[in-house]
């Protein structure tokens, strides 16, 4: 009688443990995907803020600074650039990269900058730092080109649309 009870208990335990294993396995897959996307969006936010910060302070990498001295002196003055929001669009599985392709769009505001050429420069820098931040967060710098376009995470490949000024 005692042996029978013990056997029944073990079977219940195995079934329960099996269900738990299946649930955990399924959850880990979704948690992993969601967690990776979450990490990417955090990296994008940090990168975009870094790009905006360079524009706010008007302190640029040496080559860019020299270029602006000749071509775009207006960008040598600090400008008030704010990142308003960051959006993304899933473009589906991309066979070329064997990853899911996602297009990022950053919305920013720069009321002090009226010139569209200057805005393009500022937007390109924000996008560059956003992509760079993704590549650095996932250690994929060697997979991409010098401007990190596209940027890679483990499961996704990212491109950026032109910054939307609002």
């Amino acid at each position: 009688m005692n042996m029978g009870s013990k056997g029944q208990l073990t079977a219940e335990y195995i079934i329960t443990a099996g269900f738990i294993f299946l649930i955990v396995y399924a959850m880990i897959f979704y948690i992993g995907e969601a967690n990776e996307l979450n990490q990417v969006m955090s990296a994008v936010r940090i990168g975009a803020a870094e790009g905006a910060s360079a524009d706010n302070m008007a302190i640029y990498p040496d080559e860019t600074f020299k270029d602006y001295q000749k071509e775009r002196p207006g960008l040598l003055n600090p400008s008030s650039v704010k990142i308003v929001k960051i959006d993304y669009k899933n473009l589906g599985f991309n066979l070329t990269y064997d990853k899911v392709k996602i297009q990022l769009r950053i919305y920013a505001s720069a009321p002090s900058v009226k010139d569209s050429g200057y805005r393009n420069c500022i937007g390109d820098r924000i996008n560059f730092y956003a992509r760079k931040s993704i590549a650095e967060a996932f250690q994929t710098q060697n997979l991409s080109n010098s401007v990190f376009n596209p940027a890679f995470s483990d499961r996704y490949v990212f491109t950026t649309r032109d910054v939307q000024w609002i």
Partner: protein
């Protein structure tokens, strides 16, 4: 025994969740801290350039004989930096980056002999900025280390 087993699974599952959350948080926090540090460096570089430009403009507007003493910080965000001043503005370079603060157009010299030249300001030094009228009747800004 059954109760103990159930408790252990709960515990292991909780630990798993904590590890997942901590793992993602640590990356975010680390990246955020790097960004904050970089912004701090850029901000300090900009403030130093503006501080020097403001001192020069004040000296200029103070007229002949007016002088201001400035002290440059030993470093910016733990990095070496260099400031160059000429009639176009104040230029700062640090960590492979550069910026410019604008000046009211004026003649800049590194010596009392009033030769127009680029003046280089180094970290951790004291400089005296003096407004001196030249023989040509124009006001010159003389920046000399003390």
């Amino acid at each position: 025994m059954d109760c103990h087993g159930a408790l252990s699974i709960d515990f292991l599952f909780s630990i798993l969740m904590v590890i997942v959350v901590m793992g993602s948080l640590s990356t975010i926090v680390s990246d955020g801290m790097d960004m904050a540090k970089q912004s701090d460096e850029l901000g300090n570089a900009r403030m130093l350039a503006e501080y020097i430009a403001e001192a020069i403009d004040q000296t200029y507007s103070g007229g002949n004989g007016h002088g201001i003493r400035i002290v440059t910080p030993p470093q910016i965000g733990g990095k070496y930096y260099m400031v160059t001043v000429n009639s176009s503005g104040v230029f700062i370079k640090t960590g492979g980056r550069g910026g410019q603060a604008h000046l009211v157009p004026q003649k800049i010299s590194g010596s009392l002999s009033l030769n127009s030249s680029d003046v280089i300001l180094l970290p951790g030094k004291t400089y005296y900025i003096l407004n001196k009228k030249g023989e040509d009747g124009y006001s010159w800004i003389v920046i000399r280390p003390e």
